[in-house]
């Protein structure tokens, strides 16, 4: 089961997408998007994992000790911030859709075509 962690990431991604496609509520859509995004955290961190290694902070361990890949951790941190801010923006848009259209159900929103 050496690949299980990677496959879980794929599973979470699909779960998020399923949620977006079948959703009846725009706030739920935005949250499902966050779910889909959390798959990328998991994938990045598992790609950087190293068996028997510790956190890549050398204030209390000596150099040369096996550590996990710090680059993926930095990327995940950036990714988290990006995700949080985009979620805030999309929620702001959802608030305004609710106010202007009077509903947050994607099925009840009128088409924009025409």
């Amino acid at each position: 089961m050496a690949w299980a962690a990677y496959l879980v990431a794929g599973w979470i991604l699909l779960a998020g997408i399923y949620g977006i496609v079948t959703s009846r509520n725009l706030v739920h859509v935005v949250v499902c998007l966050s779910v889909a995004q959390s798959a990328t955290y998991l994938l990045l961190l598992s790609v950087g994992f190293r068996q028997g290694a510790t956190a890549p902070v050398f204030s209390d361990i000596r150099p040369g000790r096996r550590v996990v890949d710090p680059v993926v951790q930095a990327m995940t941190l950036t990714d988290v911030v990006v995700g949080a801010t985009v979620t805030a923006l999309l929620l702001a848009l959802a608030v305004q859709v609710a106010k202007r259209r009077g509903t947050v159900d994607p099925d009840a929103l009128r088409t924009l075509e025409r």
Binding site: V29, L33, L43, L93
Partner: protein
Amino acid sequence: MLSPVELAIAVPFLAAMVLAGAGRWLPRVVVDAVAMGATLAVTGLLGAVLWEAVRYGTVVVWVGGWRPHGGVSTGIPLVADPFATALALVVAVLTVAALLFSWRYFTEVQAVFHTLMLLFLGAMCAFALTGDLFDAFVFFELMSAVAYVLTGYRADEARSVHGGLNFGVVNSLAAYLSLTGIALLYGRTGELGFAAVGEQIRAAGGPDTGVRVAFALVCTGFLVKAAAVPFHFWLADAHAVAPTPVCVLFSGIMVELGVYAVARTYWTVLGGAEETTARALAVFGGTTMLLGGVMCLLQRHIKRLLAYSTVSHVGLLVTCVALARADALAGGAFYLIGHAGVKGALFVGAGALLNRFETVDEHELRGRGRDMRVTSCLFLLGGLALAGLPPGGMWLGKVLAEHAAPHGWWWLTVLGVLASGLTGGAVLRVWLRVFRGAGRRPAGQAGEREAGETAAPTPRVPWLMLAPGLLLLAGGLLVAVLLSGPEVLRGARTFTTGYAGTVLHGRPSLAHAGRLPELWTASALVKGLAGVTAALAVAALAVWGRRVPPAARARPVWSALHTLHSGHVGDYVAWLLAGIVLFTLLVIV
């Protein structure tokens, strides 16, 4: 001391921070001036970088001085090759035009609009110039986040926030899929730089299935940005509602940057010229050209119509990448610049209509634009240029692409004429109806009213609003004359060869110039005129030939197409998922 490349990124961001912090106390004219000054400075800097890149070869700057040793580095390179720099320069020039359009008149909230425009400018420049996959993702997201806000800028319009939300969900999801691909590539190669990833893959004996799937996932985000069918749904929703100056940037360059990123990834990661990838890109590009054109003709909301025409034109750009040859890419460059100018001008025209009549519904506006001579001129010439009027950049680009196409690609010529006819014809139809009052009053329900973008409607359109349109149109029409063909071809060769050597090993990058095929031949002119004729025919049929039987019989098809573009975010995401799977399958099988 910062290099001009770094300054071109720092200047817009710093100016944006000044405006964001002090905007609520600054008078409007200062806000306008700061934004314009910063944009002009970026234009100048990028012009200087472009001159250097064309003259002496690609400029590579490692941010923070993390230069590579022995071909490896831990930093991020900014790679200013002629193509990337030219794209960044297009961004800057279009931003100048957009800021001119919004000078004084455009409704502002504190100084947020100008701040966002500067952030958008910087993000797009950084996205074009970066030589690192993850950094490209970050600036892709910055560009997207700013774009969502700009789309929903008129927050009291329901369509505006709805379009912004659809745009946001689809693009963000696509970006996360790109990031998934980047993580897979990182797992495989242990590297993040375009050049380093490519070197590792070549060292391991070329791409295998896993690398190809990862590549396809990375491209997903970029293809969604590029609005390739079936990833295009968000584009019309967003363009139809975004403010005019924003549309100029969206259609003119943001969407095209998606194609650029696909090309960049294709050449650096897979090495370019892969048969399966070429096929995948050709299938997506061709479908996009056709569907975009058809949807364009079906619209009556002018901004939405222009948005679908962008979809169609981007299809040709994707096909240029599929051709995987330097001369096709040179054609793509001409096409991109020509399109940026012409489409920018058309959106300026649409903005002038919106601000005067508070609607851009073609049927509502019938005959009301008779006294708007300049705007009328924009639409007439713009429509002809979209159809491929020589010597416009779009004509030259299409001729070059067709010239580069191998024998089995006859469909490209057919689709080229069709796309020209449909998109050019739709704009010419608008010109006939709105500015000439031609045809009978079309039946059907009234169009929706929209608020203008200025504090009060502008009965006389100020010349500052129209000037950028005229300048952009002139640029788009004269690009074939203004740009040196051999230099563009050389830029394309630099783009396709020796990237890793230049970035990681400091090898010189100047490709030899070579010659473009002879341009002013009879067959090239005929190709241009065929598109124009098709467009005129389509426009005439649409205005006067209401009872043409084939069109009437196809009505269920049109209404099905309208239904497919449902504005339902779930539909868009379902299409996105299916599209990725199809694209990946085409790439790996």
